[in-house]
Amino acid sequence: MKKLAAMVAVLAATPAFATNGLRMTAFSPLNASMGGTGVAMGFDSSALVLNPATMADLGSRVDFGAAYFPTTITYSASTNYASIPGLEPLGALIVNQPNTTITSDFPPVPIPNIGVIIPLAKEWRLGLGMAAIAGAGSDYAANLFSSTVQATYFNFRFPIGVSWQVMDMVSVGATLNGSWALMGYSFGASFGLPPHPVANAFGVGATLGARAKLLPILAVGASWESPTWFQPFKYNIGCANPGGAIPPGTFPQCGPLGVPGGREELQLNLPWAATLGAEVELLDGALLLLGDAQFIAWSTTLGKNQPKFVNDSATPTSQAFPFSARWSDQWVFKIGAQLKATDWLKLRAGFNHGKAPQDPDAALENIAFPAFVESHVTVGLGLQLSPAVTLNLASVIGLEKTISGTGTLPDLSALAGQPPGSLPPATLSYTASSAGYTLEAGLSVTY
C-alpha cells in the first residue's frame, strides 16, 4: 500500500528548478508547454497572471491543472578554517563533511492551478483564478554547522481580473492579486541557532496589461505586475546559544540557554516585473509563434541586506546571522510555438532562459534556496476530448545549472573563546547544482 501511495504522487511539484529565480516559469500546463509565453495572446486562464488584457481572446471557460516536479539538487562545501593551524576543530564544526556532495531530500509538492473566464458582455471578461507564483526549497542532511539545512518558500496568488476590448484591435486588462505565502527555514539548529518554523503571510498587488492586434497575423502585448506587498512572516523564537558560546546566566531569563528569543518579523515581498511579447500566426492560424521578454526586479526585494527583519524584531542570533541575498535583476527570454496538427491535436514546444540572479558569494542563501536553473526546454500537446473538453499535457525540462562561490561567515571568535574580531574571517566555499523536469496535466472546459 505504501508503494501504491508513493505511486500516487501523480499531480505534484517541487520548487526550485522550473523557475526564473523564485518565480515559476509558467502558470498552467498549456502555458508551461510553450516556454511560459503568453503576453501577446491568451490561451487559457493563465492570462490572469501573464496579461489580463488577453482574456479578451477567450470565451467562457474553466481550466484545471497540476504538475509533478521531481528534481535533483546538490551542494558541497568547505571552509578556510579547515586549513588554518589551530582552527581545524572549528572548521570541522562549520563543515562536517568537506567537499562531500550532499543531495537535497526536498519532496514533491502538488500544486493545482485553476481559473475561470466569464464573459460579462461582448467586450468585457471577468476572470478568477489561483496559481502558484513562486517557490524554492531544500532539505539537506546535517553538514553545515553540524546541522541540517532546510528551507521552504511558496507563494500562491488568487487573481481577480477584468479585460475590456476597447476596439477591434486593442484590449486592456487588470487584475487585483491577492496572495498568500509560506516560508520557513532552519540552518544551524543543532549548533544553537533557533529554527524558523513555517510561517505564512498575506499579500496584495496588481497587474496591468494591454494587447494590440496590429495585423491579422501579428499581435503584441505588454504587462506590468506591481510588487506584491506581503505582511511580515512572523516567527516565535526561543532562547538560543550558538555553539554554547554564551556563558550561562548572561541573560537570566534564558538560564543556561544564552540569548533571548522573541517574535521575529521577516519582510519578503515579491518584486515588480514587466513583460513585452509578440505573437505571429502562420499557415492560416495553424502555426503560432510567440516570444516574450520579461524583466524581474529581484534586487528590490532580495537585494543587499534583504530579506530583512522589521519592527526591531530580530533576535540577537538573527542579528548575528542576517540575510543578504544580493540578487540582481533578471531578464528572461521565452519562445513558444503551437502547431495544430489535426482538429483534435495541437503540438507545442518552447524554450525559456534567464540568467540566474544570485550573487555566487551569498553562500548560505544559495544553498538554502537553490533557485538558479537558467534554461528550460518545454514540450506539450492538447487533445480535444469532446467539443467542450480539452486535455493539456506538458513537460518542462530544467537543464542542469551549477553555481560556485565563496561567502564570508559572521565573526566566530566567541566560539573559540576569543574577543570579537580576533579570529581571521571564516569563509564558506561551495558548489551547488540543480536540474529536473516536470510532468503536467490539465483540463480545459468551455461552457
Binding site: A9, A12, I114, G184, P197, N200, A201, N236, G238, G262
Partner: protein
C-alpha cells in the same frame, strides 16, 4: 518534558478549527453553508468527495471556489505543581486560504466522471509560550485530489466510487531544539464507496464509506543526540468515515438534508497510534436546508460533534480540535444562464477543553485550551 516537546507539536495546523476533529465540515461553499451535509443531498461537485454516487443527480458542471479558514486559540497551563509558573498565550497562526474545485463530466446517460480537489483536513497552532512555556509550533494540512465515477444502475439507484489521492504536510515541532526539523510531507491513498437510493421522487437516501487514508511515513531529516544525521519518521493516516444521509424536498422550493457521520479517529490518532494522542471516535450530526426564492437560493445548517480530544493531555494546545458546534449560512446568486455565485460561511462558537495532565510533566499540570473559528468560502458554479 523533552519527549513531550518532541511529540507535541506534531499535527497542528493552520487556523482551521472550523472542523470536526481535523476534518473539514463540508467541501465547497454550498456544503459548508448547509452545515456540511453532502451525502443525502447531492448539492454540487463537492459530492465527488462526500458521496460520489450523488454525481448521478448532476449534469455537466464545474464548481470552483476558494476558502479562508481562521481561528482564535488561547491556552493556559499551570506548571506551579512541577516547580514552574503559569503561562498563557494565544496562537499566532493566521488564517489560511485553500482551493475547492470539482468537475462533473457525463459519459452517456447513466455514467458520470468526476474530478475534485479539496482541502480535507487542517489543524495547528503556534505559540511563543507553548508547551513548557517554550516556543511551540505545529501544522498539519491535507488536500485530496479525487477522480470518481458514478453509475445509475436503475432509476432511483446509483453507485459511486472515488479514488482518494492525498497530499499532506506536517510542519515542525516534532523534533525541536537541537533536533529540529522543518517538516515533512507525504502522499496517501484511499477510496470512497457510496450508494444513493431514491424511494420517492422527493426523497433520497445515501450511504458513503470512506476507507482509511493510508499515507507514506512523514520523513524528518535531523540529527540524533550525538549530532549524527538521522531521518526520523512519523505515521499519520486519516480515519475511516461512514455517513448515512437523507435529502427530502417536501415542497419544490425547499430542500432539507441530514447526515449522520462516524469518524474513526481512534484508529489513527488514538492511544495506540504512533502519535498516542488519545483521540476518541466522533459522531457528527449535520442538518441543512436550502430554500429557492427565485432568483436566489438561501442556505443554512448546523453541525455538531463532540470534540475527540483526550482532556488528560496538555499538548491538546498544539492540536486544538476543540470545536463542537458549527453554524452555516450561505446564498447562491445567478450571474447568468449557466453560472451562479455561491457564498458560504461557517462559524464555530468558543469551545473549551480543559483538564489536568498527570503524565507528561512529572506531576499534575492543569491546562485549558479554547478557541472559536470561522470558514468563509466563495465560488462559482458553471453548467456547461
Amino acid at each position: 518534558m523533552r519527549r513531550l516537546t518532541a511529540v507535541l507539536a506534531l499535527l497542528v495546523a493552520a487556523p482551521a478549527l472550523a472542523s470536526n476533529g481535523m476534518r473539514a465540515v463540508g467541501f465547497g461553499p454550498v456544503q459548508v453553508s448547509m452545515g456540511g451535509v453532502g451525502v443525502g443531498a447531492s448539492l454540487d461537485a463537492g459530492t465527488i468527495l462526500s458521496n460520489p454516487a450523488g454525481m448521478s443527480a448532476l449534469g455537466p458542471r464545474a464548481d470552483l471556489g476558494v476558502g479562508m479558514a481562521g481561528a482564535s486559540v488561547e491556552q493556559w497551563t499551570d506548571y506551579t505543581g512541577v516547580g514552574g509558573s503559569a503561562f498563557a498565550d494565544s496562537s499566532d497562526r493566521g488564517p489560511a486560504p485553500f482551493p475547492a474545485f470539482g468537475l462533473v463530466v457525463p459519459l452517456g446517460e447513466d455514467w458520470r466522471l468526476g474530478f475534485g480537489g479539496y482541502q480535507v483536513a487542517s489543524l495547528g497552532a503556534d505559540y511563543l509560550y507553548g508547551l513548557g512555556a517554550a516556543p511551540s509550533h505545529a501544522s498539519y494540512r491535507q488536500t485530496r485530489f479525487a477522480p470518481a465515477v458514478s453509475w445509475r444502475v436503475l432509476d432511483g439507484l446509483s453507485l459511486g466510487a472515488a479514488l482518494n489521492l492525498m497530499y499532506a504536510t506536517l510542519d515542525a515541532g516534532l523534533f525541536y531544539g537541537s533536533q529540529f526539523s522543518l517538516g515533512g510531507s507525504a502522499f496517501g491513498m484511499g477510496a470512497t464507496l457510496s450508494a444513493r437510493f431514491s424511494p420517492l421522487s422527493a426523497l433520497d437516501l445515501a450511504l458513503a464509506v470512506e476507507t482509511k487514508g493510508l499515507f507514506q511515513d512523514f520523513r524528518f531529516d535531523t540529527v540524533d543526540a550525538g549530532g549524527t544525521p538521522v531521518r526520523r519518521t512519523a505515521t499519520l493516516n486519516q480515519p475511516i468515515v461512514a455517513t448515512l444521509g437523507a435529502g427530502f424536498r417536501p415542497v419544490e422550493p425547499l430542500l432539507v438534508a441530514a447526515d449522520l457521520e462516524w469518524i474513526g479517529w481512534s484508529g489513527v490518532l488514538g492511544p495506540a497510534s504512533s502519535l498516542r494522542l488519545g483521540w476518541q471516535d466522533q459522531v457528527v450530526v449535520k442538518l441543512g436546508a436550502e430554500l429557492a426564492l427565485e432568483p436566489v437560493r438561501l442556505r443554512a445548517g448546523l453541525s455538531y460533534g463532540k470534540s475527540p480530544l483526550d482532556p488528560n493531555l496538555a499538548f491538546n494546545m498544539m492540536f486544538p480540535a476543540v470545536a463542537e458546534a458549527h453554524l452555516g449560512l450561505g446564498v447562491g446568486v445567478p450571474l447568468g444562464p449557466a453560472i451562479a455565485l455561491e457564498l458560504g460561511a461557517l462559524w464555530s462558537p468558543t469551545a473549551t477543553v480543559q483538564g489536568t495532565d498527570a503524565t507528561s510533566f512529572g506531576g499534575a499540570v492543569p491546562y485549558r485550551v479554547s478557541g472559536w473559528s470561522y470558514d468563509l468560502q466563495v465560488g462559482v458554479t458553471i453548467a456547461y
